[in-house]
Symmetry: C2
Subunit: 330 residues, 2 copies
């Protein structure tokens, strides 16, 4: 691979809980071709088969010029990217994903956390361009995160930095999938929206009327997407829920500002389709809660710009950087 | 100044709420001479007078060979170090400390946060040597912090990183000097020790008998130092209070591990004289609360090694580095 890697397209893969999405990403960040496969069982073998199928399909039209494959997944990777330590939605536990995929794909490979990849994409092509210290907060089922400091993705001493969804924000609070109680993502995420809607519908069906219409009156079926739809349509009950979740978002950002002092916090992930309905209460709480407010600047809180493709765009760019760096003469 | 700056002694200054302490620090981190002045009024002018007097006294014996003066203070500095944004114990608000001192001292000057300086000292000469990502937690009246990543002190986008004493750990919790409620330092600090002792003595004088003996029976006079003394002497009530404060320490470290994933957390400051009485419960809580525990490594939690001189040792080394860097040909 020549030092011209920086000028070639790369393949980015985003592994979700139920699907594998891939794209060919040009050096300017545009996605020039896409492919996807469902992974209904979400076993390790099925997921790896799906990745290989997506790579094969996309490579067919671009072979010879693809720099490599970048893979982002909702998991905790060690610092080298060799091992998936843990994944909340997939069956990886201490898995050698990179070696397995490397044998199969026989291409340069970057493997890492999906929110890290999204943070990198927003820094390179999106809302965090030019930042000295950018934090990404992805609001999906839970909260993911990534840190870009001085133009480098920061992954911590063991590869697991940015897992701020598991800061404890309420002692003895709500149970989290991680086993602890009171984690931030239990108060600010798609799951938090759904939970609040179900609670409201159970205790006050009249107030939750519009929400209940979306699920044929079955409160148990309410999830975050229903709240997002109703809030966007102007339903006051749904908007109240979004405001509460946005306020928790701002509180967590205030805590991150105390720890890291970023200049920008980019909010992405599925829940970020709510836009200002979510970000306005987040900024209001940040203004109330930022330590030292009045004496210091705080971070800008902005919407992600790259949408659901941020993860695959970032993963592609990270493998491109990796190859270009290796090709650079010392 | 020549590129030989790295081999020369530097002067370090630590500004506390009631005194200015200075030391001549050799390149190997040893303090070869010290001086101090009281600043009873803690006005800006008095503090600057005291700094100048300490510098004059120490320089008399070492002039011609001192690289510069490093000043660490309990304040929030902007990224350049030019401006003190805010100081909890001193009268600085948007003050141009560096320019004022620069005119007066006419020597190369580093000015910054005292916990940042202590973190740097522990990284260079103490408990964090060789770390990829070290966090310092200084437990004094409140909590200070510093971050050393990849061999560099990290101060955030605006100069205020590491202020984790003001993470909110309890919604609607105890009032903090910063104006917010529920800040970590209200639960794990010298102030927290004193508060718990006063509460105990007020509600159960029999249990707090030993503590009350230390203040002639006047519960209102109990402060952290009394708890530390009684706990060290083996008093069960004082040990219970230290265990509670240590448990909160471990919880906050777990939150920092979720955010930053450090390999080591160094605990310093006055309260750290409690040693294992404090650190053992902190480690126990970290083991219970670390997100992803069992699937990932966590940080080591260790006692600071440089004691109360860490701040001035670090400040001296930082001005030495600053001068050496400027003298390096491009």
């Amino acid at each position: 691979m020549s030092a011209g890697a920086a000028a070639l397209p790369a393949l980015g893969i985003d592994i979700g809980g139920t699907k594998v999405a891939g794209g060919v990403v040009a050096p300017d960040g545009t996605v020039v071709a896409t492919a996807r496969r469902a992974t209904p069982g979400a076993s390790v073998a099925e997921t790896e088969d799906a990745i290989a199928a997506v790579v094969e399909e996309l490579a067919a039209g671009h072979d010879g010029e693809l720099v490599g494959v970048g893979v982002g997944a909702a998991g905790w990777f060690d610092r080298t990217g060799d091992t998936v330590l843990f994944s909340p939605h997939l069956a990886w536990r201490g898995s050698t994903l990179r070696a397995d995929l490397g044998h199969r794909l026989r291409r340069p490979l970057w493997v890492g956390n999906d929110a890290d990849a999204a943070a990198w994409a927003e820094y390179r092509y999106g809302a965090a361009q030019g930042s000295d210290l950018a934090l990404m907060v992805t609001l999906g089922t839970g909260i993911g995160g990534g840190i870009v400091l001085d133009g480098r993705l920061q992954r911590g001493a063991h590869g697991i930095a940015g897992e701020w969804g598991h800061m404890r924000v309420v002692p003895d609070g709500r149970r989290c999938a991680c086993g602890n109680r009171g984690c931030w993502e239990q108060y600010s995420s798609g799951n938090a929206l759904g939970r609040a809607a179900r609670e409201l519908a159970a205790s006050s069906p009249a107030t939750a009327q519009r929400l209940l219409e979306l699920v044929d009156g079955d409160a148990r079926r309410l999830v975050g997407e229903h709240v997002a739809r109703a809030a966007t349509d102007g339903d006051p009950a749904a908007r109240e829920i979004v405001t509460e979740v946005g306020t928790w978002l701002g509180q967590g950002i205030a805590d991150l500002a105390a720890v890291l002092d970023p200049d920008v916090v980019v909010v992405g992930g599925g829940v970020s389709v709510l836009g200002e309905l979510l970000l306005a209460p987040a900024r209001a709480q940040l203004d109330r809660a930022l330590p030292g407010r009045g004496y210091r600047p705080g971070p800008r809180v902005v919407a992600a710009e790259l949408g659901p493709q941020a993860g695959l765009v970032g993963a592609a760019d990270l493998v491109r950087d990796m190859v270009a760096l290796r090709a650079t003469p010392p």
